[in-house]
Subunit: 168 residues, 2 copies
DNA sequence: TTAAACTTTCAGTAATTATTGAAAATATAT
DNA sequence: ATATATTTTCAATAATTACTGAAAGTTTAA
């Protein structure tokens, strides 16, 4: 396999994984492209390489910037904007964890907290089951949330080192 | 808020979270309904409670069974099938981890392993960046995979206990 | 067997989500 | 000011994904 084919496969694989985990496929693909591109590139180049429209490229790049995964670079004397992705995988993981926690996990935990408080007849199996399930899921979600926070604040080698010291 | 409203909210919240993380919304909702229902219920009841068609209910239930989250129960002397969800949240987490690992993580790790082997000119920045990125992501993915396996084999209290002993 | 009770399938349709492309907006240079 | 380069927006459209409902299939009982 040559480099060009390998690049395409990487972009495809990353896009597929993204879409399976609720991230827009194009967004994952643009990110993948930037990850394997040494220098900042322009919207034009992204459009060409992935065969997507200007509108799509523009919106996707904005999203990636909002996710903190890509940054804009301006070349002196040039009007055009160039884009560059942080290539440190631990930063990427952290950034994704941070955003998904904020956007998706926190809201659901908030709802679960409210639902935990709902009162009812403790003799009623329907109430008992509801209450226990919500409480248990809430607890699990809170633990996952804590784990996310830990990831956010940890250094990569320290994190995995500590994890696999116990779970060998 | 009364119990009925709380149930609806729970089903909604769980469905939303599911869809944000790449799980069919209806599947997450049926699962949520079964999670808060003390006794096994029939397809009819699921159809009614969630206002979905028989076909949708049937396919969704099969999926949940394939994911190992729901089991079929037969009542003696009755022809109808009833469905029941395991309510142990740790089992649920484990089961989801097991399936997603198998369906989504393993395939991508396989591709990444192949791409790591692609050879090229070590003077070429395009190749260097590609190779390093793929290698790094591969390593991260392998660690996430290992973490999944650990979850799969661990007891809940032991797992969280060990985690938060280090990451206090 | 036949019929009744129930489950499964899947072509057609609906709903959702993603993308295009051209017009509007913005920024810079002359 | 005007022209030019570039980015942004968003209504229209396309692509994808999910759902329905009725027909076909299966199982059990009489």
């Amino acid at each position: 396999m040559d480099l060009e084919e390998a690049k395409l496969q990487f972009i495809q694989a990353w896009g597929k994984l993204g879409s399976e985990w609720g991230i827009n496929r194009t967004m994952a693909q643009v990110h993948a492209l930037l990850l394997i591109t040494p220098e900042p590139i322009s919207t034009e180049e992204i459009m060409e390489q992935l065969s997507i429209s200007r509108g799509n490229a523009n919106m996707t790049i904005r999203d990636l910037i909002n996710w903190g995964l890509v940054e804009k670079q301006l070349k002196p004397g040039e009007r055009k904007e160039y884009f560059y992705a942080d290539k440190n995988t631990w930063n990427i993981a952290r950034q994704v964890a941070r955003e998904r926690r904020k956007r998706e996990l926190e809201p659901v935990i908030k709802v679960l907290n409210e639902l935990t408080k709902v009162d009812g007849d403790s003799k009623d199996p329907a109430y008992k089951t509801f209450h226990k399930t919500v409480k248990d899921i809430n607890k699990l979600a809170a633990n996952v949330d804590k784990l996310f926070v830990t990831v956010l604040n940890a250094e990569e080698s320290w994190f995995w080192g500590s994890i696999f010291k116990i779970f060998k």
